[in-house]
Symmetry: C2
Subunit: 462 residues, 2 copies
């Protein structure tokens, strides 16, 4: 342990915000591993950007690797720690500094939890469109650092599109303040985009200005069944054109997912028969519940007439809405039925998903050790999730399955990570979606911004 | 002249695509300076990415500065040349490689003109939402490099938001191929964002994958008059909430602009009396002409009742549409009435525009040498354009006026360039919107990616 550095950190913060020894062991390392103690030298809790800057200046001058902790909801080993690390936790930087209802913006510290942002926006009849399962734990700094996606990306964009301004502290403690609340700003390089999605390897997000939308007044959902993937693509085009910008959700479930999610032990009943190949849960958010419902109803009737769609059911009230969306969102109901579950988060051009996933499915079925799997996704974004259940947890089987899923992506321009990031877990597979030249350029950037490689060492690039 | 390098360039390309001497002089340097010959050593015309790579490899090894030419429609000295430069013109890389109507994407070379992209999309009932005056000349490579904005940014985003994939050649000739057509891709750093908006100082855009939208089926416009800036902000919120995502234009004209644009020698008549302080031209694009018209009509009636709006007129047919939009878009009708016109393209938080521009206006009026000025802008994006007419073209007066406009931006977090960029003309004023730390980080990036500073030397950063 570097006692000298720890002493200096205690000088910077209070002693009660520099945890070591037993106090450190009480901290968990991951939302899914709360029984394990934390492996690290120390755990520090800054309250301000200036404190983050002081901490990094010290660590930089001591060549001290740091690991940044947000809500620890990432799924890719993005916050794994090592015995040498000092952990910088953002949990005390949880202050919402301002909401501006005229400019529709919110300025927040990096440690604010997503749900609190959503709630404050909603209290002012505004919407922060980003939404995903871990919203009660995920912190905005980590969300921005990992450019999180979720359920409404197709309409509102990834996190990147929702961030107007950013404050970041570089590895050497330099504070980069790009905290403007402007939709248009071409005054030189737009530096914030370097940090968004870099998983904390280039800087620590300390504050941000978020763009809010006026809250929609209507929400309409319908579940439809289809037999052919080309019809899924055709339906997306049909609804998207017909709604002209109001379509906010288009979630595809393969039969394997739908059946498992609507059979015991799952609590949900099936709103449509379990005999179809595909199910789409679509959502419209607009300004008029009656008019928007009629519009979606007419469009789906047309789709039934054209035999794009085999069967359809509308959410007629809020309990239907919850019923339909629980089927799609309660992934845990499926995962709990799979052993040694292995998760995928790939993306590929939407029109190529049907055939590609058919092929992947055949290869998975032919693999010894694969018991079953479920497939679903944010299909309008080209994003597919697969969860594979296995008979054992061997590294060989894991690697075999990774290769089955990732190999086809290379040729068709897909991605091994649509929204979860790379962290430590997917680093070995990056070359399936990125070229040697791209990886070298990532290293050039890392070296230029963090020459001593102290920030989240070992994540994404070496 | 570096004869050795020129010979090598001729080896790479054909002799007829390496222009020097008289052939060079026949090339114009800027759309507004077509009478001047081109100041440069040579002018080369690659047809492929590989040729761009070969050219840059050669220039890099010879420490040879290059200036990239697109459609030359930038307004900030972004394509000024110097006697030592070799110009790389993208005009022969004008091939549209693919349109995909299912994935709603288009893959193009960097030299394709915007209007051709819009037209091909439209031919397939799709929309490439980017739109601005220079669409008949501006090339997509330059558009991406300068992250162009325009009239519908509020709804569809800047160019950055419309680019899914990018191919770039670095200063040393390395080809970075990020040509994926994915909405979601978090497989490592999203490198394309480094190049978008960097005005060609970090790499040359050779190809891109663009995101298209389904073409809207309706377009409704209305012009309204207001007396108070707070009501402008209130109207924006009222319409935006009421249309829930379908509002596509919200253009503000100050009285000075509106009066000049609707009085002789301008051909346009005023649709509303010239006695109001502000005029907003709003636009909705949706799926149903009748329903969307009724909706906007109801919202504007409510705004009249609430006295947000003083008077209003709807475009009842396509000739009204053209009439209203010509008033807003034919900036030349105003500029031609101003001597020694000096142009501004600033942005600031929307709610602060009224007071700030009142103050700027007072200071301009009190300045000897200022004859008159007009003010207008994409106000939902916080983007204001000012054109100042002057009695002389002295550097002192230009600087005085720049200072009047830029000075207030510093404190309120505004930008000296919302959508036009920095080039050479605005470089001296960058510190009004960017901090020392930001400028240093820009230099770090420039040095990391173009260590010999051969790309668009002298633009943005030194």
């Amino acid at each position: 342990m570097n006692e000298n550095l720890i002493d200096k950190l205690v000088e910077c913060l209070d002693a009660n915000r520099v945890l070591t020894g037993d106090a450190l062991q009480e901290r968990y390392t991951h939302i899914w591993k709360m029984d394990q103690g934390l492996v690290a030298q120390a755990y520090v809790l800054p309250k301000t950007t200036a404190e983050v800057s002081d901490i990094l200046q010290l660590c930089h001058s001591h060549n001290q690797p740091v690991q940044i902790f947000g809500g620890l909801t990432n799924l890719v080993g993005g916050t794994e720690t090592h015995p040498d690390d000092i952990v910088i936790s953002m949990e005390k930087m949880n202050f919402i500094e301002e909401i501006n209802i005229h400019d529709r913006t919110m300025r927040v510290q990096g440690g604010v939890v997503l749900q609190n942002i959503q709630q404050l926006a909603s209290d002012h009849a505004l919407l922060f469109p980003l939404n995903f399962g871990a919203k009660g734990s995920a912190q905005i700094g980590g969300i921005i650092s990992s450019n999180a996606g979720g359920l409404r990306v197709f309409r509102y964009g990834m996190t990147r599109n929702l961030v107007l301004g950013l404050e970041v502290v570089l590895a050497d403690g330099t504070i980069i303040n790009c905290l403007k609340s402007l939709i248009k700003d071409n005054s030189g390089y737009d530096l914030k985009h370097i940090f968004i999605g870099s998983e904390g390897t280039l800087g620590i997000v300390t504050r941000a200005v978020l763009r809010l939308q006026e809250a929609p007044k209507s929400r309409v959902s319908a579940m439809v069944a289809l037999q052919d993937y080309d019809n899924v693509v055709g339906l997306l085009k049909h609804l998207d054109r017909g709604m002209a910008g109001l379509l906010s959700g288009f979630e595809l479930m393969w039969n394997n997912f739908y059946t498992m999610a609507t059979s015991a032990p799952s609590q949900s009943k099936p709103p449509l028969e379990q005999s179809y190949k595909y199910y789409v849960l679509c959502e419209v958010m607009g300004s008029d519940q009656v008019a928007d419902t009629n519009k979606l109803y007419t469009l789906i009737e047309e789709a039934l007439d054209r035999r794009l769609v085999e069967d359809a059911v509308f959410a007629e009230n809020s309990s239907d809405l919850e019923w339909f969306w629980t089927i799609r969102e309660d992934v845990h109901a499926c995962v709990s039925q799979l052993s040694f579950d292995q998760h995928f988060d790939i993306s590929l051009p939407t029109a190529k998903i049907g055939q590609t996933l058919d092929d992947v499915g055949k290869n998975l079925k032919a693999t010894t050790g694969v018991v079953n799997f479920v497939t679903f996704g944010h299909i309008a974004d080209g994003n597919v999730h697969i969860v594979v259940g296995k008979s054992n947890d061997s590294k060989e089987l894991t690697h075999t399955i990774n290769t089955i899923v990732y190999e086809p992506l290379k040729e068709i321009g897909g991605s091994i990570s649509a929204e979860h990031g790379i962290g430590e877990h997917k680093k070995a597979y990056l070359s399936y979606s990125r070229s040697e030249a791209e990886l070298n350029l990532m290293k050039t950037l890392k070296h230029a911004l963090d020459p001593r490689s102290i920030l989240n060492r070992g994540k994404i690039v070496d």
